[in-house]
C-alpha cells in the first residue's frame, strides 16, 4: 500500500504546504507564490493518475505497446494555463494595490482603510 500510494501522500503534503502558505501570509506576493505551489501540486496529482508501470510517453511510436494515458496530460496543460493566467492577474492587482496603498502587506492596507473610515 505504501509503495503504491506514497506518491499521492507526498503530493498531498505539497498541496497543503502551498495552501498553508496562501492562508498564513499577509504579504500579497507571497500569497501568490503559495497559490502557485498549491496548484502545481494538484497538477502532479492528476499526472500521477495517468501513469502506467513500464509505460512510455503517449506519442505513438513503432514497437512500443504500453503508453501512459494522454487525458490527464491534456487536462493539466489547460490547468497550467489557468494557473499562470490567475498569477498574472494577481500580480497586476498587487501592483495596483502597492500604488494605491504604498504597501503589499494585507494587514497594513486594511489598517489604512480602517483609519480612513474612522476619520470620515
Amino acid at each position: 500500500m505504501i509503495a503504491t500510494h506514497y506518491t499521492y501522500w507526498i503530493i498531498f503534503a505539497l498541496m497543503m504546504i502551498g495552501l498553508y502558505a496562501v492562508m498564513s501570509h499577509g504579504n500579497l506576493v507571497k500569497k501568490l507564490i503559495g497559490l502557485n505551489i498549491f496548484q502545481v501540486a494538484v497538477f502532479m496529482f492528476f499526472i500521477s493518475l495517468g501513469r502506467v508501470d513500464g509505460g512510455s510517453p503517449p506519442i505513438i511510436t513503432e514497437g512500443i505497446e504500453v503508453y501512459s494515458h494522454p487525458l490527464p496530460h491534456v487536462l493539466i496543460l489547460t490547468a497550467i494555463v489557468v494557473g499562470v493566467a490567475t498569477t498574472s492577474v494577481g500580480v497586476a492587482i498587487a501592483i495596483r494595490i502597492y500604488e494605491a496603498y504604498g504597501t503589499v502587506e494585507e494587514d497594513n492596507a486594511l489598517a489604512r482603510d480602517a483609519a480612513e473610515e474612522g476619520t470620515q
Binding site: Y20, H73, T87
Partner: protein, 330 residues
C-alpha cells in the same frame, strides 16, 4: 525499489524541502527564485511520469513566465521581505491539516500509482485516444490529438482564459500614454554587458525558429500551440530586457499586439464557426474534407494551434510590455 522509483522519490523529496523553504523564506526574492526551482524540478518529475508535453509546458510557464511575473511584481512593489503575523498561523495550519487528512482518507481507495488495471486505464476512451486516434487523426502525439480535436472545446476555453488574463492585465496596467516614458525607458537596458547583448542578438532568430518548430511539429513530438506561443513570447521578452521597450516596439508595437491577441481567438472560434457553416458541429474538422476526414483533422488541428500560438505569444508580450511601462512611469 527500481532506479526509476528512486529518482521519483528523490525529486519528490527535493520538492518538499523547496516548498517548506519557500514558505519559511523571509526574503521575497529568495521565495520567487525557489518558486522557479520548484517548477523546474516538477517539470523533471513530469518527464519521469511520462508526461513530456506537460513537462515542456511547466518548464516554460512555471519556471519561465511565472518567475518573470513574480520578479516584476517585486520590482514594481519595492518589496523585500514578508512577515507572518502570529494570528494567521493557527487557522491556516488547521485548515491545511484538515484538508490533508481528508485527502489521505480519500486516497485509501485510490488505485495505486502506475496500476495498469485502474479505472482510468481500462476505460474505453483510452482505446479511443491511443488506437482509434491513429486511424481518425493520423497524429502520433496523442496528447495533441486529444487536446486539439477530441477535447478541442476545452482548448478553446484555455485560449479564452489566456485572452481573459491578457484583457485583465491590460485593463489594470494601462494608463495614459506619455512620450516622456521613452526617455526613462533606458533605465531598464542591460547594454553595459556586452556578452548579454551579443548572445541575445544571436539567439533571437533561433528562439523564434524553435518556437515555430514546436508549433508545427507538435503533432509528432512534444509541443503544440501553447508551448510555441510561450517560447515565442519569451524571445521577445528577452529582447526587451536587453534592448529596451523602444527598440522592440519598432518591430512589435502594443497596438499590433492587442490586435493579435484578439485575432488568435477569432481564428480558433472562426474554425469552429466555419465547420458549423459547412454543416457539421462546432469544431468538427471532418467537415473540412468530407472525402478524407483525417486530412480535414490535420488541417483543423494546425489552424487552431496557430490561433492558440498567436494569442498566447501576443498576451505574454503584451503583459510584459504593460508591466514594464507601469514601472518606467515611476
Amino acid at each position: 525499489m527500481s532506479t526509476f522509483d528512486l529518482a521519483e522519490a528523490v525529486l519528490l523529496g527535493i520538492l518538499i524541502v523547496t516548498a517548506v523553504a519557500i514558505t519559511r523564506a523571509r526574503s521575497l526574492f529568495v521565495a520567487a527564485m525557489l518558486g522557479g526551482l520548484f517548477s523546474l524540478v516538477t517539470a523533471s518529475l513530469f518527464v519521469l511520469l511520462d508526461a513530456v508535453d506537460v513537462a515542456l509546458t511547466e518548464a516554460a510557464v512555471g519556471a519561465g513566465i511565472s518567475t518573470v511575473l513574480f520578479i516584476t511584481a517585486l520590482a514594481l512593489t519595492n518589496s523585500r521581505e514578508a512577515t507572518t503575523p502570529r494570528r494567521r498561523v493557527i487557522p491556516a495550519g488547521l485548515v491545511a491539516v484538515l484538508a490533508t487528512a481528508g485527502l489521505v482518507y480519500a486516497s485509501f481507495d485510490l488505485p495505486g500509482v502506475g496500476d495498469p488495471d485502474s479505472p482510468v486505464q481500462t476505460h474505453p476512451i483510452t482505446d479511443t485516444y491511443l488506437r482509434e486516434s491513429q486511424e481518425d487523426l493520423h497524429v502520433p502525439n496523442t496528447v495533441t490529438g486529444v487536446l486539439a480535436s477530441y477535447r478541442g472545446y476545452d482548448t478553446l476555453g484555455e485560449v479564452v482564459v489566456i485572452f481573459t488574463a491578457g484583457i485583465g492585465v491590460l485593463l489594470l496596467m494601462l494608463g495614459p500614454r506619455r512620450p516622456a516614458d521613452e526617455v526613462k525607458d533606458r533605465a531598464y537596458l542591460q547594454t553595459e554587458y556586452r556578452v548579454l547583448r551579443v548572445v541575445s542578438k544571436t539567439l533571437m532568430p533561433f528562439i523564434l525558429l524553435f518556437a515555430l518548430y514546436v508549433l508545427l511539429h507538435g503533432e509528432y513530438s512534444p509541443g503544440g500551440g501553447f508551448q510555441a506561443g510561450v517560447i515565442f513570447g519569451a524571445g521577445f521578452i528577452l529582447y526587451t530586457l536587453m534592448f529596451g521597450l523602444a527598440a522592440v516596439q519598432r518591430v512589435l508595437p502594443m497596438r499590433t499586439l492587442v490586435v493579435l491577441v484578439a485575432v488568435g481567438v477569432l481564428i480558433y472560434a472562426g474554425v469552429g464557426v466555419a465547420t458549423m457553416a459547412l454543416g457539421g458541429g462546432f469544431l468538427d474538422y471532418n467537415e473540412f474534407n468530407p472525402g478524407n476526414p483525417s486530412g480535414g483533422q490535420v488541417a483543423g488541428i494546425l489552424l487552431i494551434e496557430v490561433g492558440v500560438g498567436v494569442t498566447v505569444a501576443a498576451v505574454m508580450v503584451a503583459m510584459f510590455y504593460s508591466l514594464v511601462r507601469r514601472g518606467v512611469r515611476r
